[in-house]
Symmetry: C2
Subunit: 174 residues, 2 copies
Amino acid sequence: MRNVIFGGANSLDNLFARPDGGVDWLLWSEEAAAVTMDSWKSVDTMILGRKTYEVARRMGPGPSELAGLQSYVFSRTLPDEPGVNIVREDVAAFVRRLKGESGKDICILGGGELARPLFEADLIDRVGLNIHPVLLGTGVPVFHAMTRSIQLELEDCRRFKNGCVFVSYRVIHT
Amino acid sequence: MRNVIFGGANSLDNLFARPDGGVDWLLWSEEAAAVTMDSWKSVDTMILGRKTYEVARRMGPGPSELAGLQSYVFSRTLPDEPGVNIVREDVAAFVRRLKGESGKDICILGGGELARPLFEADLIDRVGLNIHPVLLGTGVPVFHAMTRSIQLELEDCRRFKNGCVFVSYRVIHT
């Protein structure tokens, strides 16, 4: 079955971005780029929240054009737009259906708000984080409070030259 | 100058304990014990918050008897007690003075509430975390929202056999 993957670059205090979405603290590295390229090989579908979609759109071409992937943007407020799949239904129901269809892996992009109901519905299969050597202090959380705990199995751990630590986990489904 | 050290065992979603203080999810390992023993060699002073102190007291002998260390408990509500140094003053002012005195390193034990004003006052020198392969979902945070960001330098990163990842950082003072 297709894996649902959640993750990204985070601070040691588990934030994805500053309060305004700023990612000035991100460290680029060939090592991180190689890991990212490698993990995207297995992905053909992206799930984005509205905020992440708006940041991505400001940064250039639409995310699906960028990567040649099928993408879905979850929003109750965005108007329909040509070339963008705006989804208004419950994210867990949608992803559960998508996992049942044939295809490659599904990547959850951006803030933890979208990931929270997916974790709670036990629909996420892998978690990957590139932990940056910084405490941002305040910003956009990677993990929101959840109604359950989730056991993980460490699959990979790499120390990058720039002081980042890449960790990747498999979710132990219950 | 004496180092002020903050850290402990945390979940991947950066919690020190379940909402009731529960640490049933902690994995014991010889590797973690060795790292802990090693880091305690440089320490002669412990700073505890009230909640951590009460948990430690329930678990057996007082923390200072356990380790033969000087310990200070920060609380505005605890009554004086023989053999316990209850401190009622501002934690940042107290730790700043302690750092100026001669002695070995100072360890901040327990929840992030005590650490937050110390990070904000740039008084913490090292951060060490033993990241456990679990998302607790809700509980006692390691890092609270802060008024500033803090740059770190990765000093150590070890993958333990039980799936924990130990990371230790030096704070880059500003």
